[in-house]
Point group: C2
Chain length 454, copies 2
């Protein structure tokens, strides 16, 4: 038996201490004095109890002296998964938040995004956003870039160099009347999407993959949407876009697509709702539309900071969960001002509580449920839950080493607290100072070591 267990990869690291993660059955499972082994492929080889140390060391062939012991107030959680972030909007994060969506796009977003034809500018911003989100504990990011293929490829290169797991989307848009230089013809959009997929795939980055990215229905002709649906299908690719963010947008979609029954139907008709699709927002989806999400296996990215900051609406997450639609959290930089998934966790709780204030019968989310959305839920929303999202044997070791009592950090402790209290304090009060190490597929990516390329 020892031999068969050994037949996998050799053990590269073993950690001992508290592990906190989610499963399908339990929003927060706490494993105290656990042992977790990571193999040379960066995958979780085993999880056991501390008292099994001798047996595990023999079975998996590691030395008990090489076990890394977590300190008091430390624990591991799975890396957080940002299911929706515009890397190209990072430069103005924290500003420009006084306009509603469509005016905001025309006034702030399109002019800035058009600058990404300049690869030097793109390199600066994309390096900042990849480093910042890694520091903040985002081990997986689902990125919107811009329409510029070469800059989008650069984002993939930078994510790979710093070791972040990423889906990268070159944005497609063949309709835009507000900023002259910032659109493509339908043909360009298709051709460049092909080129983007081909060139990014050729790089063979282990953790960075392309995602087909129509900006959103109002920016695309139906012909382009149909083409993009076909490209995704023929290449078995992920798809991302936006849906039902604010009410003005809903009306515009009705006008632009008069033959569609609903906003969801627009995408569905074009084969853009698949089990590898993630749609941001969905604040105003009807139950019927949610049923279509459930049916197709498409998921939603809940971006509460953005929805509040742009006054878009408040997604009823409880209703989405009741419909058994896959759901993750997103920062939606820069409609959301914070690039931290911890902020997304907090704002998701706030949004749920706001719904409770409006309707006392509303069942608020618990912090445990929101923790699951930020980790396992995100991996499911991105159809990456075979690789990441929690601490299951066989998945990649994507993890944050959290120290709630990090010196010079933002949290004060007065007494010994149980792990669940420490988790709650971290989720509500913690920041990057409490995330002392970040691992993606077993590789320590924070603190940074200078990347070899990028």
């Amino acid at each position: 038996m020892a031999n068969s267990e050994r037949s996998g990869n050799a053990i590269a690291h073993v950690y001992r201490g508290t592990f906190v993660h989610s499963t399908q059955q339990t929003a927060v499972q706490i494993l105290e004095d656990a042992l977790l082994g990571v193999n040379t492929q960066g995958k979780i080889a085993f999880i056991g109890e501390g008292k099994e140390l001798q047996r595990l060391s023999q079975t998996f062939g590691f030395s008990t002296s090489e076990v890394t012991q977590l300190a008091k107030h430390e624990f591991f959680i799975p890396g957080m998964i940002d299911t929706h972030i515009h890397a190209s909007q990072y430069s103005y994060a924290g500003t420009a938040l006084e306009l509603p969506l469509l005016q905001w796009l025309n006034t702030y977003t399109f002019p800035v995004e058009s600058r990404f034809k300049d690869l030097e500018f793109a390199h600066k911003v994309y390096t900042q956003v990849v480093k910042r989100t890694l520091r903040n504990g985002t081990t997986t990011a689902c990125y919107f870039a811009t329409i510029h293929t070469d800059a989008s490829l650069l984002l993939g290169q930078i994510a790979n160099a710093f070791g972040q797991r990423a889906l990268v989307g070159k944005v497609c848009m063949d309709r835009n009347n507000s900023v002259k230089h910032y659109k493509e013809t339908s043909q360009e959009s298709q051709d460049e999407t092909y080129r983007f997929i081909k060139e990014l795939s050729k790089k063979e980055y282990p953790l960075v993959k392309p995602v087909v990215t129509p900006r959103f229905a109002p920016s695309c002709t139906e012909a382009l949407l149909v083409q993009l649906g076909a490209i995704a299908k023929n290449n078995n690719l992920h798809i991302q876009s936006h849906i039902s963010e604010n009410t003005e947008e809903l009306k515009l979609v009705q006008e632009l697509f008069p033959n569609s029954e609903s906003y969801t139907d627009v995408y569905h008709k074009c084969n853009l709702l698949t089990d590898k699709t993630v749609m941001a927002h969905g604040c105003h989806l009807s139950d019927k539309e949610l049923a279509l999400f459930r049916e197709t296996g498409a998921s939603l990215s809940h971006c509460p900071n953005s929805n509040i900051s742009l006054c878009s609406g408040v997604l009823d997450v409880r209703n989405v969960l009741n419909h058994k639609v896959k759901l993750g959290l997103g920062t939606d930089v820069a409609g959301g001002y914070s690039s931290s998934m911890l902020d997304s966790v907090r704002r998701a709780l706030d949004s749920s509580k706001v719904l409770k204030i409006q309707n006392p019968d509303h069942e608020t989310l618990t912090f445990e449920e929101v923790f699951r959305l930020a980790t396992l839920g995100g991996s499911q929303a991105l159809s990456l839950d075979d690789q990441t999202g929690n601490f299951e044997v066989g998945k990649d070791f994507d993890a944050l080493r959290v120290n709630v009592a990090a010196s010079d950090g933002p949290i004060d402790l007065i007494q010994h607290e149980e792990p669940k209290i420490l988790l709650e304090k971290f989720l509500n009060l913690g920041d990057d100072r409490n995330i002392v190490e970040v691992f993606v597929a077993g590789r320590k990516v924070v603190p940074f070591t200078e990347p070899t390329s990028a």
Copy 2:
């Protein structure tokens, strides 16, 4: 003329750079390349333009070589004013947020507060909260302590030692059925309030003053409220309490005070609404009650994190401002989980935007207005605007030296930005790492130097 201008105190420090503050007329006034002089009493002696350096140095008798020049990306803002914070609840900040107010008080708050008869515990928690809030840029705090006089005096001693401007309240409550040991008789409450005022005043702390603190109407008999109103009047003291936080509380107050027309009327009848009164929350006040606030000069402390976290309600700040009621912001630790006024600023904006989502005609607060609430508004709400709140000659120099680009801080800049953009980035994304120095009455209190006592 030079002599008469010199006849005040000598200049201790002169700063040159960007100063950002609020006035009654302008929510955000930006003074670029300004010169500000602080005298040996810690008061602002002059504000002028950089080009006036020679003249000012002659007039005020300082050497031009001693001027401290702010760096690029740095600016001064007035110290922030937390108009409502429970120092005694800091130990569980960031936890225990799943119950509504009255259940939350009985389950979490009263048991913890009852521990403050232990002065060692009190010393630990109060030292943490004073240091933490100073680091976060709170130069003035209006504190609730507990019913324990000696522990409350200790809070005053610690605030004084670290140099924070503070109003400190020994809590009064002669009604509490949930936690046996945590209440006083009416006589004890009066006697101990007298003792607290007398002993704290005897210390002659320059910046720490007592505030008469009935917990809130449901915790006090009418007899006690009347006594406390008289004590405040006879000693010309500040008053703080809570009002109209959640709807269950409203009903309870109606039951307990059947002869009062409204919650506000309960306090008004007991002479507890004065121009030195600050009441926390007020989420559910009627326009008639707001008019009574306006008439009496009493103010409100808006605590948006707490109101959302405990699902209490959403204060319509615009309506309060339209009624010309004085208003500041509060963290309300630990109903609010964050002790940072920057969080309070963000949640105030969120709350305003949530009201906009519910009602498109709602006029949202701007970040400039919320900045004013956190500084000048707070000083007015606490009737301390003769001493602090903005950069006016004659006021104390309570200020934060902000570096938006602090190394290892949370903000990335891609290009040169104008001061207003830097302010917005700081308010939305900054934290204590961006607050590189904190001054109260001219004294640098952060970074910490070890206090001489406490």
